[in-house]
Symmetry: C2
Subunit: 375 residues, 2 copies
């Protein structure tokens, strides 16, 4: 792949003797458009820059991005005694297919950031940096810019730097106009403050933070339902209780909980108020909440504690999807869970609400065998 340098000028390679034979084969002739790659790289730079804080070092054209972990300058002082790096990778699944179908490429990047940073913060980490990987049929500089704009938007929402990325033109892997988008996030947490779920106790309260719709999961099922029920993405439906089209509702970017959750974790400097957390992705509450629990505890969830948003009922009805399947595939309105000591449940919920979250007490931790019990 051509390096993402601003300067891709050719130097002085050896000259081939003039020949009357037909011109030889070239890299460009084999389908890779280096100029489009360069234009795409130029368009991306401004979006990356707006995510940079003073901790980002380095220069354009570097082989890798540099991020200063400790930072001693007065205004931005950060120091770690025993820092633990937390890293994860995720894509956006077939939601990307819907973005392609609708020709809307500037929000899928936020989904990509969200899927990663929401996983990071589960361990108690503060997101530091992000990188994106786009594999595509042909580099369309305008589309690539839209995709990266969304990634940069997500990074701003999450408070992390978009430190780099790669756009790979692979016409033999991706069909015309198609692409895949994956992301990588790194965060940091003090060793003594890693949230690893071993702290969760019987009696802890489970706070559910509302999602912004289906987020980035279940799109293979969603797209099957769209086909089977012959639904029109460009139409509005009364059952959705919104003026948005079905396509707009489904493409709503995944909510990013990072700044709010990091703020909550910082609020309780000494006491370990937050005992566990869970990002509700594929598998829903039933598969993801147990990941925050020990094997001898259950999460008892009161499904009437919040209102399942219309989009889920709409999909269930049109796909005649069974309840159990809905709860295993979708977030059903709760995108992130924070498990707290009962004494602090009220103040933690209020703090998250002040930061913009819609919070519900959705259940509590009981003795059990590592499962979710719904009622």
């Amino acid at each position: 792949m051509p390096p993402k340098t601003a300067d891709n000028d050719l130097a002085d390679p050896p000259i081939t003797p003039a020949t009357t034979e037909p011109a030889g084969m070239t890299y460009a002739g084999s389908g890779v458009d280096i100029d489009a790659g360069d234009e795409s790289a130029r368009r991306i730079v401004a979006h990356m820059r707006r995510t940079y804080g003073p901790r980002v070092l380095g220069r354009d054209g570097a082989f890798a991005g540099c991020f200063r972990l400790d930072f001693n300058e007065r205004l931005f002082k950060r120091n770690y005694r025993d820092p633990v790096l937390v890293a994860c990778t995720d894509g956006v699944g077939t939601k990307v297919k819907l973005a392609i179908q609708l020709g809307v490429h500037d929000t899928i990047g936020q989904d990509c950031v969200a899927m990663n940073v929401n996983d990071l913060i589960v361990q108690g980490a503060e997101p530091l940096l992000f990188l994106d990987y786009i594999g595509t049929h042909k580099v369309n500089p305008a589309n690539i810019e839209h995709i990266v704009k969304g990634v940069a938007d997500g990074c701003e929402l999450a408070g992390c730097a978009l430190l780099g990325g790669e756009t790979a033109e692979m016409p033999d892997i991706y069909d015309k106009d198609e692409y895949d988008l994956a992301g990588f996030a790194v965060g940091v947490v003090e060793l003594s403050r890693v949230v690893d779920g071993t702290r969760v106790e019987e009696g802890d309260v489970i706070l559910g933070l509302e999602s912004d719709g289906v987020h980035s999961n279940g799109f293979s099922l969603i797209r099957a339902i769209l086909r089977e029920a012959k639904l029109d993405l460009k139409k509005t439906y009364d059952a959705l209780e919104t003026e948005q089209t079905l396509g707009q509702v489904l493409l709503t970017p995944t909510r990013i909980y990072a700044k709010q959750v990091v703020s909550l974790l910082r609020k309780y400097k000494v006491k370990k108020v937050v005992s566990g957390m869970s990002h509700i992705t594929g598998g829903g509450l039933v598969d993801n909440l147990p990941r925050a629990l020990g094997p001898d505890l259950n999460a008892k969830i009161n499904t009437k504690a919040w209102t399942v948003p219309p989009i889920f009922k709409f999909l269930q009805q049109h796909g005649r999807v069974e309840d159990a399947e809905m709860w295993r595939v979708f977030n059903m309105g709760i995108g992130y869970c924070v498990i707290v000591r009962p004494h602090f449940a009220e103040s933690a919920a209020r703090h998250l609400e002040r930061k913009g979250e819609r919070v519900h007490v959705i259940g509590k931790v009981t003795k059990g065998n590592g499962r979710v019990v719904m009622s």
Copy 2:
């Protein structure tokens, strides 16, 4: 995507009343095979574990991988005063297509690690951790295991931990039996020891470290040449001067220079002997060496200082590719460059040779305008 947990048991979701209607739609029915995903995750775990050192924390089923940056235990003591995180992402380009064509999936992972860690070390960083992203048509657990085995092999060679990964089943994006592979690496370097190229001076010596063939670049052109010249991947060719088939020669995994280069950087604790480095990827020496230079310097390269390996001559001949194009697309036998102060050129070269590298003095730094001049 289903989370990579060992335990994907279903909990007790609400029961749907019995119905005589035809069965509703399901996630599995929409083409996503959760069981294959689980089997794949189980097969991967052992490969990940063998890359773990004592700095990896955490447990299976966690949302993100944890890596302890500072490490105070006697045997593995590592401490950083002002640590800079270095991060990058890259894929393997259309080399993956050749792996698919040959049905050989267990070395492409090393390519993926190499493309990333060789970029990291250019900044002076020591690789710490790696994550892989595989997008695929259908999860074939055996193939996924082979791919991840190669990634783990690469991580062992580079001395970093395979901290996590994602396998995304996307039948509507990837064609039958196809996949894409991208990786992401994080390293660390002391702020005072970042190699950023501003140190390179007139008179510095350029050491070229031999490549292991074409590495992971130029495969769109290579595959075009294979088609045009009707070459047979399963055949041996005299011109290749090896008993390996053409397919084996082309699939040879990208050399990983990490441990050797990190060792060299550690050797000179006080003096800054290494002034710049360059990973020779797409763009060849002509595009990649200038990334290590200031704008007022040239790299003067003596192309007779090493022998261009047979595979490059073979490709050039069969594709009637012009010299200039060859030098811009391929590494031509030099996969990594280390720029050193002239006084230390001999000892640096010897150190790298003791670590297993084949090293050539390929040129020197002169006054100029940020270009490569070949003779």
